[in-house]
Amino acid sequence: MIDVFLKKLRSRDVVSEAEEARLRAIMVREHRADKGETVVQMNQPMSESLLLVEGLACRYKDMRDGGRQILELNIAGDFVDLHAFLLKTLDHNIGALTPCSFIWVRHDDLTQLTEDMPHLTRLLWLQTVLDAAIHREWVMSLGRRPARARLAQLFIELHERLAIVGLARDGIYALPLTQMELAEISGLTTVHVNRTLKVLREAGLVTIRGGKVRIENLAGLRDAAEFDATYLNLVNRPR
């Protein structure tokens, strides 16, 4: 069940058999979430963290007027709220954007793991460090990228992240998001999302149809987004 998580870890370092065995031992309790379900509410006490193994989820916050900002998209293999292990309460909600399969991981088990296995601890730490890097890139998008580059950046980032866990191939991947959800990610209105997708399509860069993204011109899309993959740290090295 956690193969996708191991794949993500092994894209950036070696995971020993003993480390894999420990992860498999503590990652067992499955939680299936329906599309649209809020899996974790902010400000609640937490004694477990959620690993996403299937589906598309997000971190989000609501405004008083009903507006929602999606702060990060989570894909299979993401340890969605590992930071709750230390924070014990989240400053954001976690929602399922599609039917999702999660695994609850007890904080007590993580505490024991961090005391027994320093290298595996560093690999888990790396997961939250990567999340922070993604957040920085999203701030960059929301603050400085025009609409066209903002969506271009999103589509390339997802391509790179999904490719690591084998869910993107030849520039094609599933992204069953509504234009409202793309608006909540990009800070644009649905009208502007629609217009921007049209511009990207007409420029021969990327097509979104039937819940699938098809990147037609990766180099062109990278250029449109001023994309630099450094923040994703796609390097396999000792940690």
């Binding site: 507006g67 649905t190 009208v191 999302v193 629609n194 217009r195």
Partner: protein
């Protein structure tokens, strides 16, 4: 507050659209465009009058772009609500 309208073509992001400029006491407060099907492809939008640009109390300092309005009357009502009450 007197709101007046001036119709004209607007060079919107999706291409030129029919639009209307809303003036509040002769000061430009908002520009709405009439959406066409290309603007709302696959999106359930409740209306067709979209705030293309807002100024002052209708601008980004004070508001987020509202969902499109189904009638121009509702759009101008929104402008009216944004504007502060001025003593004359």
């Amino acid at each position: 507050m007197t709101l007046t309208k001036q119709y004209g073509r607007v060079l919107a992001d999706g291409g030129a659209r029919d639009g209307v400029l809303i003036f509040a006491n002769d000061e430009l407060a908002a520009v709405f465009v009439e959406l066409i099907s290309e603007d709302v492809d696959g999106v359930a939008v409740p209306g067709k009058w979209y705030l293309e640009a807002g100024f002052g109390p209708c601008g980004s300092l004070e508001t987020l772009t509202p969902e499109p309005f189904s009638t121009l009357r509702l759009a101008t009502d929104w402008v009216d609500r944004c504007l502060p009450v001025r003593k004359t």
